[in-house]
Symmetry: C2
Subunit: 312 residues, 2 copies
DNA sequence: GGTTGACCTGGTACCGGTTTCATAAATTAT
DNA sequence: ATAATTTATGAAACCGGTACCAGGTCAACC
């Protein structure tokens, strides 16, 4: 493989000069520049990116931590990140965790090892304190509100506000008893925390029996539908953590000739449009774009993306 | 930033020994190994990945070329790739092209510059010849059948076979006139080529007026629905290049109180299950996994993933 | 007792670039 | 005419590792 020294030797100039030509810097005589460029072209030479990155100490690569790739939420966020990164000439590496803290830690160590300039956590299993400890090795962006006193950059949607809007609307629509579907029932998940908080604000204490957890996709929603269909006292409507999950709940009732249960979903996916139920659009592409911007900045700014409640 | 030389100096041993400790090689005395490990730990040392990769000449990173990230087809393929890569300790970088050949060329040049060990083309705009020319700089996998005599690795679904099955079923079901929806109406797209081929085999010549092109998402399908609703002579059914697009066609007819038009989609997405129309499951995750395996091998093997036609 | 081979260690070239610094010539300013 | 810049170029250190090779110790084997 031909390298910069070969070009230097063959052209008769120094590597410094060749480097200047490669990087389009000034202070190279026109004739020499032309000659070096010709030789580079003739030898089919391309500078080695690794050597460059090592020398410069940055990779122009950002790692995106997510549980798994094939989920509408993450797909939309990633799309926003990838688009913004493309515009800015950055590369995006996907880092799946499957919610494994150990794996997350490995990615944080890769940040330490300079494999990425920054990490974006679209979801996390580790404590925020853990992320903060790695802050000194590179920029870290998380996609939730980490609280004011935390030295982390953050881009997040207005979960609490939009959840409260949605639930208020549900209450005013006459749904007295509201069921809830969540993914992870733990305190790490911002979505879970905000849902509970909004629920308490609007409906008061959330009874365990009105809550179905462990739902990440349509089939889980279908199972949730089966659960709620048998529940007494019955719920009047269900607030789910995603449109496809809400669609599952809805479809279970349809498939079993029950009176359709009103559902509220999230993300404004195709399923909510097809089945015409209300949803919250979190503008996840915008979230991704914001997250990318923060990843390339060095601040610890927080950026709020407004969500829209879509009544159907 | 502390490096291997610091560790060597502070421990009193050579960089060779430290390197051996880092890489868990034998031929290091236990006491020295312990001392070096302690110093590495105390100094919070992590070896620099870039330096390592440069020295080794490989990155354990694979670039995945796709038009854009937020599309169910690519999301599923990428998911398969990412999972397989995770298992194998590889990293995946997403390379969006927006169908721009110039951008594709840039990614090929990045392969040349050793930024990736391999490239997977889930879609392409360039000619196959172009990809072949870059084969010598690294492994290249494409997700379509490149033909037997081409020196490219390939993983692809049985498009032609499954399309013929689907269209045969449609014909036998009494749909005499079949409309078709496609994305790109050019010869580069394997999906387009195979659809036309299957159509000719089952229905004969595809009339231009029975073809709607430029469809990549639901809204496009809806527009296609509007087109077919006005078409005379009308079509009896529509074969679309994706479930969400088929859903759009279907939904247009529903929304306008027309007799629902039978549609056949692809990918077995949620929309086809909700609206209960037939579809083809191309097992895209399996496709992604196969593509990854080929990317890390050095062969130019072809791998066919069987598709399933799902009648509904 | 000498040869063999496993074990241990360090020196150093190498991967392929960037960047600082020194030097000198050509311009420009005073 | 001289001082101060600007332009042009190369030598060499540096980024932070890996890997080959040489050299030395020590037990086993013939």
């Amino acid at each position: 493989m031909t390298n910069i020294h070969d070009i230097a030797r063959l052209s008769g100039y120094s590597v410094s000069t060749v480097s200047r030509v490669i990087n389009h810097q000034k202070y190279v005589a026109d004739d020499k520049r032309a000659k070096v460029e010709k030789i580079m072209h003739d030898l089919d030479y391309v500078p080695n990116r690794l050597a460059r990155d090592l020398s410069k100490g940055r990779t122009k690569t950002i790692g995106v931590v997510l549980p798994y790739a094939n989920h509408p939420y993450f797909a939309r966020v990633v799309d926003g990140i990838v688009m913004a990164a493309f515009e800015a000439g950055y590369k995006i590496t996907l880092l799946p965790t499957n919610y494994d803290m150990t794996v997350e830690r490995q990615y944080l160590d890769q940040l330490r090892s300079k494999a990425y300039d920054a990490l974006i956590f679209t979801s996390r299993s580790s404590q925020l304190e853990t992320l903060e400890r790695y802050r000194k090795y590179g920029q870290i962006v998380c996609c939730e509100d980490p609280g004011d006193d935390r030295p982390l950059a953050a881009a997040y949607t207005d979960r609490l506000g939009s959840f409260v809007s949605a639930l208020n609307w549900a209450k005013q629509s006459g749904y007295e008893k509201m069921g809830v579907v969540l993914s992870r029932n733990n305190v790490i998940s911002a979505s879970t925390r905000m849902t509970r908080q909004a629920y308490e604000r609007v409906y008061g204490h959330l009874e365990d029996r009105d809550l179905f957890t462990g739902a990440v996709k349509y089939e889980d929603g279908y199972r949730a539908g089966a659960y709620f269909a048998k529940l007494t006292p019955a719920v009047d409507a269900v607030f789910a953590n995603g449109d496809d999950i809400a669609a599952g709940v809805h479809q279970y009732y349809l498939d079993h000739q029950l009176t359709p249960l009103p559902v509220i979903g999230q993300e404004n996916l195709l399923s909510s449009r097809l089945l015409k139920f209300s949803t919250i659009d979190h503008h996840l592409e915008a979230l991704g774009q914001a997250a990318f911007r923060l990843a390339t900045a060095q601040s610890t700014t927080h950026e709020l993306i407004k969500s829209d409640f879509i009544k159907r």
